[in-house]
Amino acid sequence: MNKPLLKVGITGGIGSGKTTICKIFEEYGIPVYYADEASKILIQEDRTLIEKIKEAFGNDLYDKDNVLNKKLLAGRAFSDKNATNKLNAIVHPAVGKDFDRWYNKQSTPNVSYVLKEAALLFESDSYKSLDKVITVLASEEIRIARVIKRDQANEQDVRARMDKQMSDDEKVKRSDFVINNDGSQSLIYQVNEIHKKLCAFSEIM
């Protein structure tokens, strides 16, 4: 019988470069589950999830073809903290179940772990079901500059989004590995070191 694959989470603040790091892990053949991308698909396609969102935020969020009005949802769900928590409480379990389905399908040979990339890994408590967690760090200035460039956003909006996330210090305390993505250290070497440790860890498990 094959050993179960390790579940490794990878998180980091907005603009920290999580996806970049995941792309490098993919070069080693590691399967990566992108939770934020999955959630965007699930709220458009998962019928159970759609019904729960309608119940919580109004039927008019979806049209007759069940196409989500994202702008309307953002207005209602991110207007206050309670509403945001309510949406997260609906979406995160659905994403968790989707991850489990995805995980059970993974049978890539010569691979000892999979990655789950999520921005709110700690905030959603989904880290509890993972074996190891990697946090990606970058300075605030670098992260703001990246997000402004990537999302065409303004600095105020980016800072507002950053404030809703857990501090980097708190994430680091709860993480097993840290990757510095501020240009001061080679990303590939940091990834390689963590990859070797994760492979070794899976051997002794």
């Binding site: 070069e27 080693y28 990303l187 590939i188 070497y189 390689n192």
Partner: protein, 321 residues
């Protein structure tokens, strides 16, 4: 006859009797002079003239390897009348030598005499030719096809560029000469042509450089040159980088996996260029393993692109077995 002389003397000699006497005397001198001149022109003289020589009818499949004289001195004997006439009519500028009459690669005095006499009037007799014989040395004529090398000095107007290569038609020409001379010839150059600030297609006939050897000749004297000039524009695409020449049992991981390729191309070709047109690679054989960055190389670029720039130029890499 006396009247004009008489009139001429009237201003110098006022005395009528003296003037009559001198008039008669001058008339006699004039008549004597005319007789002397007629007598002198009727005599035969020998004059030496220098003629340039043109050689014609070279034997086919043979190449002249020595340098025969370019001028000959010919002494011509004829009456004073004819020689005097030559001063006005002028001499033939060139004397032609027909090489089809060669005997044993030589033209002896008699043969030269025959050829030259035919080109002069019957009234002139050639008495001496210097040199009195001309030797010709021939080698077997061979042919070779060589590429044409253009000597264009072109400057293009800003934002314009040359599409494709400069076309030379024909791009190869046939040349003839002796075997040993031909063996040293690897190409044939055109004349130099300067074209400044080109902004539209250009087509012209361009002369080939004259041969430096007597024995070597191109079989044509010009080629056609086509320069296709068009307006250029800047393009940018994202190209996926591939690792190449990685030994079996080893893997290379590098990041980023993509590179931005900026280039300049002609407006007409702009739409033909896509992400697959450029081949960007990390060549394992070229990696400096002391450096943790590997250089991105352009393995192939589409035609009609220039000023190709890669961003970034290097990627982080790691080799593992």
């Amino acid at each position: 006859m006396l009247k004009p002389i008489y009139k001429l003397l009237s201003s110098f000699i006022p005395d009528i009797k003296k003037r009559e006497k001198y008039s008669v005397l001058l008339l006699c001198i004039f008549i004597a002079g005319v007789f002397w001149l007629v007598n002198a022109f009727s005599k035969f003289y020998t004059e030496r003239y220098t003629f340039k020589v043109e050689y014609h009818n070279y034997p086919e499949n043979k190449v002249l390897v020595n340098t025969p004289p370019k001028e000959v001195n010919i002494s011509i004997r004829s009456s004073g009348w004819y020689l005097f006439g030559l001063r006005f009519k002028g001499l033939p500028s060139n004397i032609k030598i027909d090489l089809s009459k060669l005997q044993n690669s030589k033209l002896e005095t008699e043969a030269l005499l025959n050829q030259f006499t035919k080109q002069l009037s019957r009234n002139y007799k050639i008495v001496k030719i210097s040199p009195n014989k001309i030797d010709f040395s021939f080698d077997k004529k061979k042919y070779k096809t060589v590429p044409v090398k253009q000597n264009l000095n072109i400057s293009i107007k800003k934002q314009f560029g040359i599409v494709g290569d400069i076309k030379i038609m024909p791009s190869n020409i046939k040349i003839s000469g002796t075997e040993n001379v031909l063996s040293d010839i690897l190409y044939w150059e055109t004349d130099t042509l300067s074209l400044q600030e080109l902004s539209e297609p250009f087509r012209t006939k361009l002369a080939l450089k004259p041969s430096k050897h007597n024995t070597l000749q191109p079989l044509q004297d010009s080629v056609e040159i086509i320069v296709n000039v068009e307006e250029f524009t800047e393009g940018s695409i994202i190209s996926k980088i591939e690792g190449v020449n990685v030994p079996e049992g080893k893997s290379i991981i590098f990041y980023p996996k993509e590179v931005t390729v900026k280039y300049i191309t002609s407006l007409s070709k702009f739409d033909e260029i896509d992400a697959y047109a450029f081949e960007t690679v990390i060549n394992y054989d070229h990696i400096d393993f002391k450096n943790n960055l590997a250089k991105i190389e352009l393995a192939s670029t589409p035609e009609n692109t220039k000023n190709v720039q890669l961003t970034p130029q290097e990627v982080e890499y790691i080799i593992y077995e």
